[in-house]
């Protein structure tokens, strides 16, 4: 009980500090206008907009890939050395520090594939980094669907794919979506992987395609907090507050969604 309280304490303290020091700056204008005066004033709109781009593109890449991988591992692959190596690789991928992912992203996407520093390169890097998250979440929710359902379906003459389509996937969707939302909150906050691959210090324009660079909230926070002189105190706190609000919102959504789905669980 005490330990649990201790766990909640830091979260509350962080939130309280942020609200106390940065709450005053939050306004519609702050959210929807550009930084001015060498980023010492104005709003955060380009960064907010860029973060949405980065997350959306990363999701478009990692969700299909991750779900497909999990389907293969859970429904098709037998238990052999090959699958075991894949599983090991997934676990290891989850353990790789994000700065290493960043350097990999520079090498692979920016240079080798020639995407340059762009939203595409940054999102690909983020996608690779969060892939384990979505694979594990999907795999677990697939395996939570009772085996008897599959057998009943197979016995009717359904193929593996028909069984997955009609019975397994519809019942695993809640877990998969939870994984997706968690991925969103993780991707939103990451700084290192996008720093060298697509996020810019400051841009006077908004990105128009995935081949443009973009600003991003997390990097913007790092920049205004450490790289720019004479920034008023409440500005970085305000940025941090927006960032954490997005993450908390996503997490709460995920929890609420999971509870809602569990409430109408069908077996």
């Amino acid at each position: 009980m005490l330990m649990t309280a201790l766990l909640i304490l830091p979260v509350l303290l962080i939130l309280a500090t942020l609200i106390h020091k940065g709450g005053s700056i939050i306004s519609a204008e702050f959210l929807f206008s550009e930084p001015t005066n060498g980023m010492t004033a104005g709003g955060i709109f380009p960064a907010l907009y860029g973060t949405i781009w980065l997350v959306a593109v990363a999701l478009m890449i990692s969700v299909p890939l991750g779900v497909a991988a999990a389907l293969y591992l859970s429904e098709y692959a037998g238990d052999n050395w090959f699958t075991r190596i894949i599983n090991l690789a997934i676990i290891n991928l989850a353990g790789v520090p994000s700065i290493v992912h960043a350097l990999f992203g520079v090498g692979a996407f920016v240079l080798f594939f020639g995407f340059g520093t762009s939203i595409l390169a940054a999102s690909l890097t983020l996608a690779i980094m969060t892939l384990p998250l979505i694979i594990v979440a999907t795999k677990e929710s697939l395996q939570a669907v009772p085996h008897a359902f599959r057998e009943a379906c197979w016995n009717m003459g359904a193929t593996r794919w028909q069984t997955i389509r009609k019975v397994v996937l519809p019942n695993a969707v809640s877990g998969i979506l939870t994984g997706v939302i968690l991925e969103v909150s993780r991707t939103t906050g990451e700084t290192a992987p996008i720093m060298f691959t697509g996020a810019a210090f400051f841009l006077p324009f908004l990105p128009e395609s995935v081949f443009d660079q973009t600003m991003a909230l997390s990097l913007h926070l790092y920049v205004v907090a450490t790289q720019v002189p004479n920034v008023p105190d409440e500005l970085p706190y305000g940025v941090a507050l927006v960032l954490i609000a997005i993450v908390l919102l996503m997490n709460s959504l995920s929890i609420a969604f999971r509870m809602w789905l569990r409430g109408r669980k069908k077996w």
Binding site: G78, A148, F149, A152, N155, K266
Partner: protein, 266 residues
Amino acid sequence: MVAAAQETVGTPGTEATVKLEVNGVSISYGAQTILSDVNLSIREHEIFGIIGPANAGKTSFIKALNRMDMFTPSMHVDGQVLIDGRDIRSVRNVYALRSQIGVVFPLPVGLPLTVYDNVALAPRLSGTKNKKKLDEIVERCLTRAALWDEVKDRLDSLGSLLSGGQQQRLTIARALSQEPQLLMLDEFSIAVDPVTTMRIEDVLKELKSEMTIVLVTNLVQQARRLADRTAFFLEGECVEVGITEDLFTGEVKDSRTRDYVEGRFG
């Protein structure tokens, strides 16, 4: 279908075509053999009972008959199974084979779909899309499984929320929706109350005229009530196959059978 299907088996008084022939079937999981050298034949339009204690290999036997070993990596089946004279190993489209065999499990598996979708699933899998035709199939199968009256007003509610006995009848309706030639029931009455069991038994007696039924059961009296002929499995061995009534009146080839049906085992 094929010439072999016309072959008759010479049991005095009964002339019937062989639906299913099992020659020297052995089943093993890894290094462990759980059923060895089963030889028997099942005739068209009969209820064929399989009795025997737990671990006799009854369920695995049923699995082997519709090639479910394909989905069980460690399961290995030797020997030959002929359905209508055709070796099921040589069947290229196993899915079509399975769609002709209805299976009912010990514990009811109401898929987490609506009652309607549960029964319409198999026809849909085999390509029936016509709503009217599906309606027809659903009503017919539910009626025959003695469930229609209880669920006709809530076809849109979830099948998995029905009571145990209803779910089992739903499973049977689902199996019937495949229009199977062969219906295999694996201890269907385990999770069903006696009254419902009797109702299902009546249904089975009626279905006999349209299909061949394999009935695995722990209840020897159920086999006696329903089965025309019965096989007794014990510890991975098919001890004997005979006319059901004979097994119960003591006309057995093996004394273990008599001990079992009289409940004097162990």
